[in-house]
Symmetry: C2
Subunit: 355 residues, 2 copies
C-alpha cells in the first residue's frame, strides 16, 4: 500500500470511521496517481477503485501489486457486490464538499450505508503541506512562469490585443515543457485592469496603458500562479503611489508567511494598511496552490489557519480603481521556518516597456 | 427579463416552487450570459445574482436594465438580507446534481429555507434542445474541426509523437477562430488506440499504425466533438473488417436519430449487431453536446429519452481489442424530423496516409 493511502487509513481509523468513499478526482489522483472517472473506496480490509469499462485497462496498467487497489467495473458490479463492499461498516466517511446531494442519496441507497459521515476536508488539509516531490514540481512550474514573463517583456508591443498576448503565454508554456495552462491567463490592459478577473479582449495595447498579467502553468499536474502589473511608455503619479503601496504590502506579507503565523492576522495587516491609505482589499490575500490552482488554506480575514512549513500559498494584494485601472502583484510563496520564500522570482519593481 | 429566465420562472411555477437557486455556472451562463462565480436566485418577484466583489463590476457591465437581475455582493449581504430573499417562500428549488451536500446544508441555514426541493435537471433538459443561435455556434465549431482534420491528414508523419499531433490540433483551433479546445484531444496510435480514453504519449507514429483522433473545439462557448480512425501505410484485414462494422453502425445510427426515436432502442441496435459479430459496445453510443461537452441525453441502453428536433448528440460507436488496436468513428449530429444530420462532415471511408 502506498504511503498516502496508509496515512488516510490511519486517519479515518482515528476518526472512528470504518471506511471511506473518496470521490474527488483530484484527491484520487493525489492518493493513487489514477486519473480516471470513478471512486476510491477504502473498505474494512481492501481498497477498491470503482470505474467503468472505458478506464479499466488504463488504470490496471498504471497500478502495481504494491498499490493494493482492486479495480472494479461498476457496470458488472451487482447490487449485492456493491452492498458487500461496506459489510460490517457502521460509519462511512464521504467528502461533503465534493459529493452532490444527489450522489449522497445514491451512495446511501446503492451501497446500503447506514451512516455517511462528513469528513471536513481531511485529504485537502493533508494536501496543504507539500512533500519534496510536490515542491519540486511547483518550483519547476514557477520557473517556467518566470521565463514566460521575461519573454513577454520583449514580446508585448503597442497595437497587440490582450487575446494575442494571452495566446503567446499559452504557446510559451507548451513549448517550454509545461503540461499547459494552470488557468486561463488574465491580460487586462488600460481600464480593463480595474477588474480583478478580467477576460482577455480584443482591446489593443496603447501608449500609457497599465497591463495586469496573471498567469500560471502546470508541471506534472502541479500549478504555479503569478501576477505582474507593467506599464507602457509612462506611469501616472497616481498609479505610482498605488503601485508602491501594493508592493510594500506584498513584500511585507512574504516576510510574515512563516511557521506559526495565523492567516487572518497576515491578511488584516494588509487590510489595515490599505484602509489607512483610503483603499480596500476586495479579494483574499492569497490561496494555497498544488494539484489545483485554489486549495486550502486561504489567506483571508476570517481564516484561523496556522501556517506550517512547506505550505505553498500565493501572496497577491491588489488595488482596483473602478473604470480606471488596477494594480496587483502576486507570487507563489513557500512557507518557511522564519519567513516565506517566493518560488516565482520575476522582477517586481515598476517595469516600463517601450511597447 | 430575458426569454430563458421567463421560461424558467414559468416552469418552477408549474412545479409548485416559490423560488429557485441556480448554482451551476453553466446553467447560469445559459440563462443570463454571466460567467462569474456566484448563484442566481429567482425569488418571488425579483431575480438576484449573488457574487463577490471581484465580479460585481464585470457582471454589472454585462447586464442591462432589461435583464432585471439585481447584483449583490455576498460579503456585504447581511444574514437578515439573505433570509429576506426567500420571505414567504415555502418550497425552493435547487440543483441536486450540482450542489454539494455541504452547500445544501449551507443554503438551508444561510437563507433560512424550510424546504429545498430537488428539480431533477429542469434546466439541463431544456438545454438539450438548441435554439438557432446555439445551432449556429455548434455548426461553426464542427466546421473548424473538419478543417482541422483535413489539415492533420497532410501534417501527420511517421516519427512524430502523439503529443506533437495533439499540440498541432490545439494550435490549429486557436489560429482558426475557435475559443480553444472543447476537451483534451485524444491521439492514440498503435496499441494505445485500444484504450477509448487514451492520453497522448511520446509514442512515435510507425508504419502500419492505427491512429484514433478524438477532437473538438469551442466556438462562442459551444462544443464540437468528432473522432476519426486513420491508418499509416497499410491496413490489416482484421482491422478492415472491424472498421466496416463500426462504420456501418455509425451510419445506420445517424439515420435513426430522428424525432420520436427512443435512445435505448437506437443504442440496442448497435449493441446487438456488435454482439452478433462477437464484439461489445463498452461505452455509451453518444452524448448530447452544447455549452458542455457531455450533456443530457445520453444514447445508452437504459435511456428512455425520446429524441426531439434540434437536439445535438454525438454518434460514436467503437470496438476495442485490448492491447492491439481500436476503431471509433464519431460525428456530432443534429436530430431532424426523419433523420439525423451530421454537423461534422469529414471523410469516413478508410483513410491511409503515407506518413
Amino acid at each position: 500500500m502506498n504511503e498516502k493511502i496508509r496515512w488516510l487509513r490511519n486517519k479515518i481509523g482515528s476518526l472512528n470511521l470504518d471506511a471511506m468513499i473518496v470521490s474527488s478526482p483530484i484527491n484520487i489522483k493525489y492518493l493513487t496517481g489514477i486519473e480516471a472517472e470513478g471512486i476510491l473506496i477504502l473498505a474494512r480490509k481492501e481498497n477498491y477503485f470503482i470505474t467503468d469499462a472505458r478506464y479499466v485497462e488504463a488504470v490496471n496498467s498504471l497500478l502495481t501489486i504494491e498499490d493494493e487497489i482492486i479495480v472494479e467495473d461498476m457496470q458488472t458490479l451487482s447490487k449485492e457486490d456493491g452492498e458487500n463492499l461496506f459489510l460490517f461498516c457502521e460509519n462511512v466517511g464521504f467528502e461533503e464538499n465534493y459529493v452532490t446531494y444527489a450522489k449522497y442519496k445514491e451512495y446511501m441507497y446503492k451501497y446500503k450505508i447506514n451512516n455517511l459521515v462528513e469528513t471536513e476536508g481531511i485529504i485537502e488539509k493533508q494536501r496543504a503541506i507539500k512533500d519534496n516531490e510536490e515542491i519540486k514540481y511547483i518550483t519547476k512550474a514557477c520557473n517556467i512562469t518566470d521565463d514566460c514573463f521575461e519573454y513577454l517583456l520583449n514580446y508585448i508591443k503597442i497595437g497587440m490585443t490582450e487575446k494575442q498576448i494571452a495566446g503567446a503565454i499559452e504557446r510559451f508554456y507548451r513549448i517550454n515543457g509545461a503540461d499547459g495552462l494552470a488557468f486561463d491567463s488574465i491580460v487586462a490592459s488600460g481600464p480593463n485592469s480595474s477588474m480583478p478577473h478580467a477576460v482577455p479582449t480584443d482591446r489593443k495595447i496603447e501608449y500609457g496603458d497599465v497591463i495586469t498579467i496573471d498567469m500560471g502553468c502546470k508541471y506534472n499536474g502541479y500549478c504555479s500562479d503569478m501576477t505582474r502589473t507593467i506599464f507602457v511608455g509612462k506611469i501616472d503619479d497616481e498609479i505610482k503611489k498605488i503601485y508602491q503601496l501594493v508592493l510594500k504590502n506584498q513584500l511585507q506579507t512574504i516576510g510574515e508567511m512563516h511557521e506559526g503565523a495565523i492567516s487572518k492576522n497576515i491578511t488584516k495587516m494588509v487590510v489595515n494598511d490599505f484602509e489607512l491609505n483610503g483603499y480596500d482589499l476586495i479579494h483574499a490575500l492569497g490561496h494555497s496552490v498544488g494539484l489545483e490552482l485554489h486549495e486550502i488554506p486561504t489567506l483571508g480575514t476570517k481564516s484561523e489557519v496556522i501556517l506550517k512549513p512547506n505550505m505553498i500559498i500565493t501572496d497577491e494584494p491588489g488595488i482596483y480603481i473602478t473604470g480606471k485601472f488596477g494594480v496587483r502583484i502576486e507570487d507563489t510563496v513557500i512557507v518557511g521556518k522564519s519567513t516565506g520564500v517566493p518560488l516565482t522570482k520575476s522582477n517586481k519593481e515598476m517595469v516600463i516597456i517601450k511597447g
